[in-house]
Subunit: 307 residues, 2 copies
């Protein structure tokens, strides 16, 4: 998808959060936002939010001098969810459709804010994954596609969440599939890198490769040839999270997007409500009158004047 | 209160919403945000969000050439709530403590997003106003102060909401108080002006004066001498909504803030949760370690990475 003007405030918010993670120095925080403001007029909105997000985080890195602000947080998230893994595996094993349950749990992993998650959140996620079906609309198509393909390219998303992804990969391996698990080319936000994948043992189950993308999602213009080659030959691509959706929604490929809808722009693109967990093959075709504006739904389009 | 860096993304969001209200032209939307970006480095964060918001909206006006983008929306909101007035008045009349109920309904008026409000929202607001008490913590103090004062300065907030404010003004007049109702000095967002106050008949109950502020709230540096004189002499000042709080929270005056908490920064300043309706005399004294960061609570301080 292209970038909407609605994404600009979000770029500022992310830059500020990242800067605060790196230092408590108010002057640096301000400096970061001033630098972000200075690149705004140069951002080409026909690029994906991932390509522009990459620019923003480059600016933040330059202003702060810190390369991987989320390193410790990612480690904590990976540890935390790894501790949950036996329980998650039991939930999968005891379910009627193990692959579907694993997919729903992986989507739930995208939904839990691990920084503030508690045991009840995990329990609720597991219960939800065992009960609800409605939103995984393209699961039958996914199964069909899977039958015709020996290998699956899985595009990872965030740390912590990657342990939930293991559940799906385990199910795919059990069905005799060769899985390639792709991660970012360098640290950005709390996105998974090769280091994270190895840390949670993903390399025992799948071949772990770096996409080369140094943006907060997979966008093909940012990827290395080795990854592009895999992407083109893949029979099934399971794309996890909003970032990968933002980067790939317009690509012509056997893509299945598994994510929780978290912002109004993606909600409009998918024609889904914020908060929904979806498995969807490709995005719906865009049919829009106004060039700049996502078809934001009534409840989001309220005036939000906030005064 | 001073402006936090968290306010900058909000300035962009407001500018974009206002630009879209004025025109469907994507180039103008972009031009507006580029111009907002260009003034970011010059914004002094020791000023209130109201003074900086004023700058932002000046930039938007210059870029769009439109002086009052919310004119029609304000008229619609005023009409809509006026149609509810008989019902609202009955709710006040049939309650045990009419002034308290009127105050709670006025706060509810600050809470309802009129652009998408429906009859059930109104009914719920009335029911809530008749039941809950907990958040109007400084009501006893307000009553005490009221007994010692013959006149009340009421600082208005938004269109539509102003009709809810009538309920309070009616109760004050019934108790023999002289009420002065202050509005913005010029159109900004959906804030009330003299035109709105007259349109809903506020001038039949109270003396309507313009504060002179051309920001999205009352900030004394923006006000005219006539208003400042009233402000200084007032025995009780009822300040409505977040905008007036943002502009006045540090002023030493007999202020009672009546508002719904709508953003993390104001929530931190008030040490209240987002969504709370409050009547509070002055803000709590600031006790902060880090200069740039509001004491945002755990549930807001989650990483909000959104990917």
């Amino acid at each position: 998808m292209r970038t909407y003007l609605d994404c600009l405030p979000c770029f500022f918010r992310q830059a500020l959060e990242t800067a605060r993670r790196v230092t408590g120095d108010a002057k640096t925080h301000r400096e970061v936002l001033d630098r972000v403001a200075s690149v705004i007029p140069d951002l080409p909105l026909d690029a994906t939010p991932i390509e522009l997000g990459r620019e923003i985080h480059r600016v933040v890195r330059e202003a702060t001098g810190v390369d991987d602000p989320y390193r410790e947080a990612k480690r904590n998230d990976n540890d935390r969810v790894t501790a949950w893994l036996p329980r998650l595996r039991r939930a999968v094993a005891s379910s009627r459709d193990r692959l579907l349950t694993a997919l729903k749990l992986a989507a739930a992993g995208n939904a839990i804010d691990l920084a503030i998650a508690s045991r009840p959140d995990l329990r609720a996620a597991i219960e939800r994954a065992q009960k609800e079906d409605g939103e995984m609309v393209d699961y039958p198509l996914f199964l069909e596609r899977l039958q015709r393909s020996d290998d699956v390219l899985y595009l990872g998303d965030n740390a912590g969440e990657i342990v939930f992804d293991r559940l799906v990969v385990e199910q795919l391996v059990e069905r005799g599939k060769r899985v390639t698990f792709a991660v970012r080319g360098r640290p950005i936000l709390n996105d998974v890198t090769v280091e994270d994948a190895r840390y949670v043992g993903m390399d025992d189950l799948a071949e772990v490769i770096a996409s080369g993308s140094d943006g907060p999602g997979t966008a093909l213009p940012l990827c290395v040839p080795e990854f592009l080659d895999r992407f083109e030959r893949a029979g099934v691509i399971l794309s996890k999270g909003q970032g990968n959706f933002e980067g790939l929604s317009d690509e012509d490929a056997p893509l299945f997007f598994l994510l929780k809808v978290k912002c109004p722009v993606v909600a409009a693109e998918l024609e889904m409500d914020i908060g929904t967990i979806v498995l969807r093959s490709r995005a719906r075709p865009p049919e829009r009158g106004e060039q700049d504006r996502p078809a934001v739904r009534a409840q989001d389009a309220g005036r939000r004047v906030h005064r």
